[in-house]
């Protein structure tokens, strides 16, 4: 599928095999291949054409695929998402971009009342194969509204699916998978990870271990969680940028003889309940880590799914290490807000030291 394509400038000429790419490069490559593979795909948003996006995720795509396939829109998020609805009705596969997570709020009506409901409202005659790319979460010292964690909000809306990659490899494969689905997918890109390089196996979607065995070429194996690190003593559940941090924590905990499993949830809707049951069924302890505020966060949903499947064998209540119930703070306070290594270690300690009654 990708071997005959001309690579964009800045991207190593990649044939099948493992390549070191940043997440930005992996996403860019995925979009390039999606455009080449499906003539009904269109990419648009603010500055995604000539500039190639403020994060350069769409770099070079307009020059290569033309101004009709990749285009700049006026600065209006509701307009971008409302236009996506009409394009989908006309048979296109829109991949709109909201430039920063906080700017998804002006488009909430179109996302929630329109995109999420059109398939239902039209009794399945007007599917919405829209992949909304949202640079997400904090960690880059950005101004207000440029760092938010909207996953609970999106996951709560009937009719939407939500996914967040944590590695360049998953970014590449999950985006390609999402863009082929007939339902709307909110694709939350951890912007603090855009420039981190990692191995990307272009031909094999599943080089890592997954709780599910599946045919990699079918894409079915991309629908669930991923065990990012195997361990015996407890499970850290995370997604997006928090996966890398949890892997760091796991290395530190290992020095103290604590063997931590890290489960990268990837899909935030639907959540892979089976993977949670498998992992926590084995480790019998769990800590959920997310950047979003605590109250009504996705951690509560994860904790309930774990409780439902593992109540009898759990050795401690599921813990949560999260952001706080405050508006996303300024850059100087960001490190206090985002779960850091120490807070996650304290969460692990609470779970390990829990005694009944």
């Amino acid at each position: 599928m990708s071997e005959t394509m001309t690579a964009l400038p800045g991207i190593e000429t990649a044939t099948a095999g493992v390549h070191q790419l940043s997440m930005q490069q992996a996403l860019n490559r995925a979009l390039d291949e999606i455009l080449a593979g499906n003539p009904k795909t269109v990419i648009f948003g603010e500055d995604c054409g000539r500039l190639g996006g403020v994060f350069r995720i769409t770099d070079g795509l307009q020059a290569k695929h033309g101004e009709e396939r990749v285009f700049d829109t006026p600065l209006a998020e509701s307009g971008i998402l409302g236009m996506s609805v009409g394009l989908a009705m006309a048979g296109f596969h829109p991949i709109p971009e909201v430039q920063f997570d906080g700017f998804a709020y002006p488009a909430i009506n179109q996302i929630v009342c329109q995109i999420a409901r059109m398939n239902y409202r039209s009794r399945g005659t007007l599917p919405m194969p829209i992949t909304l790319r949202v640079p997400s979460f904090g960690g880059i010292r950005a101004p207000e509204h440029h760092g938010e964690s909207l996953e609970s909000l999106f996951a709560h809306v009937p009719g939407l699916k939500v996914v967040s990659p944590s590695t360049p490899h998953d970014a590449y494969h999950l985006l390609k998978y999402a863009a082929t689905r007939p339902d709307p997918v909110i694709f939350m890109e951890p912007k603090s990870r855009y420039w981190q390089k990692g191995p990307v196996d272009l031909a094999n979607a599943l080089p890592g271990k997954s709780p599910h065995d599946g045919d990699p070429s079918s894409g079915g194996s991309l629908t669930g969680a991923r065990v990012a690190r195997e361990g015996r003593h407890l499970t850290l559940v995370a997604w997006g940028a928090m996966v890398a941090r949890c892997l760091q924590v796991a290395e530190l905990a290992a020095e103290d003889g604590i063997d931590v499993e890290v489960l990268d949830l990837r899909w935030l809707k639907p959540i892979d309940a089976e993977a949670l049951a498998t992992s926590v069924g084995k480790t019998r302890r769990a800590v959920v880590v997310h950047e979003a505020p605590l109250t009504s966060g996705l951690g509560a949903e994860v904790a309930q799914l774990i409780t439902q499947s593992c109540f009898a064998t759990l050795k401690a209540p599921v813990e949560r290490v999260t952001g706080f119930d405050v508006p996303y703070p300024s850059g100087d306070l960001e490190d206090e807000y985002i779960p850091n290594i120490d807070r996650i270690l304290f969460g692990i300690q609470r779970v390990l030291e829990y005694r009944r009654g």
Binding site: V42, E68, T73, P74, A76, S78, G79, L81, G82, M83, S84, V85, G86, L87, A88, M89, A90, G91, F92, P94, N109, Q110, C113, Q114, R117, M118, N119, Y120, R121, S122, R123, G124, T125, L126, P127, P158, G159, K161, R181, P182, D183, K269, P270, I271, A273
Partner: protein, 350 residues
């Protein structure tokens, strides 16, 4: 009032309407008037839980809907476009099923009818029309053959930001879209002068560089001709058009509304102007296009149609509950499937 056109002259099939077409327009208006007033009665009789009447807007709706080419155009309604739906030949049982509370959006097929699902977020679909219209441009149809999107909204919806974004997008992209405003004087209880700044909705179009025209929305022929010109303008690749049809909502906003709280009957009579149906009838009589026998027949057809639609919606019955789960996604989630299973187990006593 008279129609003031600021559209560039377009070499359209601008032949005057034939007598046959004029009679067809009247027949449609009579059908819409009867179905509309009947639907209000159905609500009072408990046949349907609610309805949004369009009494007085028959000319605006039939005249514009009559200009749509169902083989290539697409209409984006709100919830008060029954007359447009009827003029476009929709399955009216499917249309009325929304008001029967059978299914949000209606039971008709939007792709076949070229009429998007009914919806209540009144400016929401204005942007959809722009997206669909831009899709026609991207699809590379030759000028003159391109499909046109027509989006309906009212003076109230024109206050919403999505309308501004839609007009700006459409103008920047030269999208073939007709913004059809039915200015019926009221947004529930708020009159146009407390709703629309800048003189009129049509006046705003100038700010986007979009040609606009204000038309007498109670004159079905004027509305048809304005819409036909707008479609020709769009189809020729000239970008969007704004049409503001000045009309009057003679009834309540919905069957749950009490207009007596915000206007008197005297004010209503004074402001409503000529009844568009009666006015058209007089014109057809004066011009010798139709006679009393024709009008009696139109009324008889309207009554027969209403009876058929009433019987149709009475027969609809509730939808199977499983549809609630199966139509959310094209690919249902495991959680939704397990909720459907639990629902079946707990609600279907087998």
């Amino acid at each position: 009032m008279t129609t003031k056109s600021v559209l560039a002259a377009v070499d359209d099939d601008a032949a005057p309407l034939t007598h046959h077409q004029l009679r067809e327009l009247y027949t449609l208006m009579a059908a819409v008037r009867h179905l509309d007033t009947s639907a209000v009665a159905w609500q009072r009789q408990g046949i349907i839980p609610g309805y949004a009447p369009e009494l007085g807007q028959e000319a605006a709706q039939v005249g514009s809907g009559y200009a749509v080419d169902r083989t290539r155009d697409f209409v984006f309604p709100t919830y008060r476009e029954m007359g447009v739906a009827r003029a476009m030949g929709l399955d009216m049982v499917g249309y009325m099923s929304t008001h029967k509370a059978t299914w949000h959006g209606g039971m008709y097929n939007p792709l076949e009818s070229r009429f998007a699902p009914i919806q209540a977020v009144v400016a929401g679909s204005v942007l959809h029309a722009v997206g669909w219209a831009h899709g026609q441009t991207l699809a590379g149809h030759a000028a003159g053959e391109i499909g046109v999107a027509m989006t309906y909204f009212g003076d109230g919806a024109s206050s919403q930001g999505d309308v501004h974004e839609a007009m700006n997008f459409a103008a920047v992209m030269k999208a073939p879209v007709v913004f059809f405003i039915q200015n019926n004087g009221w947004a529930i209880s708020v009159p146009t002068e407390r709703q629309v700044a800048g003189g009129s909705v049509a006046a705003r179009a100038a700010g986007y560089g979009i040609p606009s025209l204000q038309v007498d929305g109670n004159d079905v022929v004027a509305v048809f001709e304005a819409t036909r010109s707008a479609f020709a303008h769009c189809r020729a690749g000239n970008g969007p058009v704004v049409i503001e049809a000045m009309t009057y909502r003679r009834g309540p906003h919905s069957t749950a509304d009490d207009p007596g709280r915000y206007r008197t009957l005297d004010e209503e009579r004074l402001d409503a102007g000529d009844d568009p149906l009666e006015r058209f009838k007089q014109r057809l009589l004066t011009e010798g296009v139709a006679d009393e026998a024709f009008f009696a027949e139109a009324q008889r057809l309207a009554e027969a149609e209403e009876e058929a639609v009433r019987a149709g919606i009475a027969d609809l019955g509730p939808r199977p509950g499983a549809e609630m789960f199966s139509l959310v996604f094209q690919e249902p989630t495991p959680a939704l499937q397990s909720q459907a299973t639990a629902w079946r187990k707990e609600s279907e006593h087998v």
